[in-house]
Chain length 353, copies 2
């Protein structure tokens, strides 16, 4: 090791998630939306003034913030936007979890929480979810440096009610409480109405799932003016221009088409409910999903075996080789046709000899 290498911040070696790319594949492994973005996004790209690209984008992404403000009826000063909800959450970790006390989150949840904590040297403690993968709210009634919960949670797909979330906030007036609602539009209950009541609450959402725009990288947070301005303070000390010009104009275009958005989420939910019945008949069990994915285990066949078998058939789902959940598969809800093909392959494989 050379001397200059001692000055490097080391991270766990990164293993990129599988991004298969076969023309005939069925991609149900990264919780993307099977439907394209709203038609207005296409028009926005076509009308985009290329010469405008020579100029810096608006650092405040005002047009995007204003459209979010109009759609969600929240003041612009209470809205933060970033490069996907990962950027939004990363900035929140850096800004809001600067205490010496450990932050708290469930042992089974979005895999980035402990990565951010390690990166920014934030002490943390994970709290086991119960046998049915449910969060126990009482576990969060203890001293801490902050709390982050995904609701609905991933990869469990379980969504909790508003009073559950509010109880946790009520018991933590001295911490910032972050609710990560990446999947909320598929049947979850949002904590957004609580931001006026609790100035220590942040609610984070994304365009990646319900708005079919994972490729554009747009996430946002709602919270008190005090919290939002603190996050912008840190963001602007890092990079004032994170939202590029195409993401601002396309983000606005997507938000304007509320009917299309509602139709797409409704279609995904409809497909999910049909698939649930079929999977149950095939011997699968799973928590009641409020997301665009199912978290399934089979009564007889190990998840790892099913994962490999599906892969052979060019159907990609997600398998976590992680304690407690290594007999589960996370299956994104695709189109009806994609799910029919999945069920066909499963029926064939699981057919009694």
């Amino acid at each position: 090791m050379k001397n200059w290498e001692k000055n490097l911040r080391e991270t766990a070696p990164y293993i990129p998630g599988e991004q298969p790319d076969f023309p005939d594949m069925i991609k149900l492994n990264t919780n993307e939306n099977p439907y394209p973005p709203a038609p207005g996004v296409r028009r926005a790209l076509e009308e985009l003034q290329t010469a405008r690209l020579a100029l810096y984008p608006d650092p405040e992404a005002k047009k995007l913030v204003e459209e979010l403000s109009a759609q969600y009826r929240i003041a612009p000063e209470q809205i933060f936007v970033g490069v996907g909800s990962d950027d939004v959450l990363g900035m929140i970790f850096l800004t809001c979890f600067a205490s010496e006390k450990p932050i708290l989150f469930p042992d089974i949840t979005y895999s980035f929480y402990d990565v951010w904590a390690k990166l920014f040297r934030i002490p943390y403690q994970t709290i086991p979810v119960d046998e049915g993968f449910r969060i126990r709210k009482e576990d969060y009634y203890r001293e801490n440096g902050g709390i982050i919960l995904a609701n609905p949670n991933a990869p469990t797909s379980i969504g909790e009610e508003l009073d559950f979330i509010e109880d946790i906030i009520k018991h933590n007036p001295d911490s910032v409480v972050v609710v990560d609602e990446a999947y909320v539009d598929f049947g979850g209950v949002s904590a957004v109405p609580l931001i006026e009541k609790y100035d220590n609450l942040l609610v984070v959402q994304t365009f990646s799932k319900s708005r079919s725009m994972a490729g554009m990288r747009i996430g946002f947070a709602f919270g008190s003016k005090r919290l939002i301005s603190a996050i912008y303070g840190v963001r602007n000390s890092y990079n004032s221009y994170t939202m590029n010009y195409p993401s601002i104009v396309c983000g606005v275009a997507a938000l304007k088409e509320r009917a299309y958005f509602e139709e797409c989420t409704k279609k995904v939910i409809g497909t999910r409910e049909r698939v649930k019945k079929e999977l149950r008949e095939l011997g699968f069990s799973f928590p009641d999903s409020r997301t665009n994915f199912l978290f399934v285990t089979h009564e007889r066949v190990p998840a790892a075996e099913l994962f490999a078998m599906l892969r052979e058939k060019r159907i990609f789902v997600r398998y976590f080789k992680t304690p407690r959940i290594d007999n589960y598969l996370r299956i994104t809800i695709g189109t009806d046709a994609q799910m029919e093909r999945l069920l066909e392959v499963l029926r064939e494989y699981l057919r009694p000899e």
Copy 2:
């Protein structure tokens, strides 16, 4: 102050840079390129598959990295890409300056260096440039936790030769040395050839100036595999998907048009050289610029006065109310017509009574 506020990382209150927006204005205040991006960028946007936006972008931005690799003849594993050079530099600060010893940079340079150091709690020491705003290389021959130099430097516009930069690298085998070349394509000398020789060197460039793409947010760094992989490790611990789909395809399109790129930078340099002569005749002096801007002071009229006068005429230039340089203006090189208008206004104002 509420208890939860004690957990916030506080930053200096952010004052956004002036982004004037008048139809008839002449904007020479943020070093943007007056010419539009290469025509291929327009086509890339038109041909962009909107449905592809529903999927996550390639986390490795492989196509963009491969095109940079082809154009600069550098191995893909030696290239890092980010959301503008601010993102690239911010990630480098977080990754490479984790020593307890202070990092070093000039007192007059890009204003974000001390902001990043403060944000990430990196000790730093600024070293005064000389009376003519030149960096003294010997000042960097001392113990340190890292070095960052802009070459050409901003806002001074001064560019140093390759042996000057190499001497600094040679004297610092135990530190990471970063050369920020945001302006290098306008006549500077690049340290890129040195990356094969020194594995502790990083060279950072951007699409914002010479490629007319400030609005797209694309920056990149070249360095040893060891350094580049360490930066990706930190980047991926923060956000694996920073480069959105449009920036990847448009970045590739811009790189492919080398002739257009060379023509634009040549035009800017030509305009700059003509403007220099005219400004000298009007009583201005300035360092010999190797950038797309001039750093000027007038023999008689204070910079603050000229700044305000130009503003009245809807000509926006940059004025820093900062010790040592508060009698200077930073003027971006625009089109010939824009610069002619600037000179006209200055001639009129500075005309002997």
